[in-house]
């Protein structure tokens, strides 16, 4: 389980997270939704220790990670996989090399074994015949699949998805969502999905948290969120221009 306790983070004079509290239950898919620029990616980066809060604490499986040194933080990160918004594939490596990279660096498996695992992972995300391509030769959807294959390969217990479907067409969006759902059902990892895809994201989420003005204003099941009486939540999920959320 991941728990954020009173996390505050500012960049200059702008406070992005303001005493945020959130519990991510183990084994479930939790979606984090909210207006653009509210700090959803910053929130994910705090969970995996890429950013440190100005105050408050982040606790992963009972262990506070805010003050951990590099070595102990790496031990915590062994539990994680992450799919970045722009996939963050290594642009000088091929698809095969990208997916194989963590295995080559962190295990003592033979080349044949690594090749078999990489092909399995690529097959699982429905990507075949692209092994020798470089990231800049792939479409947005293909990059996301490679990123997902890379994130899945080390069998992490927690996977963070940073806007996995942003910029993709509706069909690919649905395919990526299905892929998250299927791999989650198969491996049972804890998932945190930052997304703007309303209402599609509700179909794959067990719980939904709404981030607004640096705090989680509501967290619950998709029914609770859809029936929320909070004006900001109602405006966000209906996409209305009227309400507390200023469009510009």
């Amino acid at each position: 389980m991941i728990e954020l306790r009173g996390v505050t983070k500012s960049f200059g004079s702008q406070t992005v997270l303001n005493g945020l509290n959130l519990k991510i239950p183990a084994g479930l898919i939790t979606a984090v939704i909210g207006p653009s620029g509210e700090g959803k990616s910053v929130l994910l980066k705090h969970m995996i220790g890429l950013m440190r809060p100005d105050s408050g604490n982040v606790v992963v499986d009972g262990e506070p990670i805010t003050c951990l040194g590099r070595r102990r933080m790496n031990r915590v990160r062994e539990k994680f996989g992450m799919l970045f918004q722009n996939s963050a594939l290594f642009d000088s490596l091929t698809v095969f090399e990208n997916v194989a990279f963590p295995l080559q660096e962190k295990t003592s498996l033979s080349d044949a074994e690594i090749a078999r695992k990489v092909r399995d992972a690529l097959l699982q995300v429905g990507l075949t015949g692209a092994d020798a391509k470089y990231p800049d030769q792939l479409s947005g959807g293909m990059k996301k699949r490679v990123g997902l294959a890379r994130a899945l390969l080390m069998n992490p217990r927690i996977i963070l998805f940073d806007e996995p479907t942003t910029g993709l067409d509706p069909v690919i969006c649905r395919a990526i969502h299905q892929m998250i759902k299927q791999t989650h059902a198969r491996f049972g990892y804890t998932a945190v999905v930052v997304s703007h895809e309303i209402p599609e994201i509700f179909d794959i989420s067990d719980r939904v948290a709404v981030l607004y003005r640096g705090s989680i204003i509501q967290c619950g099941t998709q029914e609770e969120i859809q029936n929320s009486s909070h004006p900001a939540v109602r405006q966000f999920i209906s996409g209305s221009l009227e309400g507390p959320i200023q469009p510009i």
Binding site: K45, I48, G49, L50, R70, N74, R75, R77, E78, F80, G81, M82, F84, Q85, N86, A88, L89, F90, D91, F101, P102, E105, K106, M154, L160
Partner: protein, 262 residues
Amino acid sequence: MLTGGYMTYLLARLGAWTIACLAETGKMFNFLLYAVYTCASSPGHPRHILKQISFIGARSSLVIVLTAGFTGMVLALQGYYTLTKFGSEGMLGVAVSLSLIRELGPVLTALMVTGRAGSAIAAEIGIMRITEQIDALETMALDPFKYLVAPKLIASVLALPLLCGIFDVVGIWGGYLVGVKLLGVNPGAYFGEMENSVQWKDLYSGMVKSVCFGVIIAWVCCYKGYYAGHGAEGVSRGTTTAVVMSSVLVLIWDYFITSVLL
């Protein structure tokens, strides 16, 4: 006449600038210390280091040969012009070789490598930073220093003395071409005097300088890339700063190390 308020403002700005400079310097030294620690504890796979030796060393050899050849040739021309005034043309080989081995070889090699490989190192790491590839390494529980910084630092420290050696040899032959073949200096005098005058400590001082310059180039260029700002402009600024700062530090350090080794 400056008013009290304006003076306070100027002093506050100066103080803020000093604090920022000190903080940046401290951050740079921390970066270097951790890079050296990583080189000693987990320097990365040999294939990463070999790849960097090839990039920083082998692929710089053409530009080094060209620079060295023409530097040796112009040294011979200038040296001959000066030495004939004292009737000492026979010392041309000594003048060319000592200038190259003690000073010009290490410094020009470092400046050429900074321009060719240092800028590329800063840009490569900077692009990895802004496209979250460095974050991706960290999320895999892999230390970016092991993959990005340590191999470049080791390769730079190994490649610079080798390139400097090439620079010295090619430069001396460039001087020979102009001095002996064009200006008619006695070939025996050119090499004979050189053999008598160039000592082990001259070679040693050139090599020590090259090793130091290798550290400076890899350190500054990796640092500026690693902490590149936002977007293409951030990478561009980081790359430019890396080249300028490396070059200036090479020249400053050259003065200090020469004063110690002389």
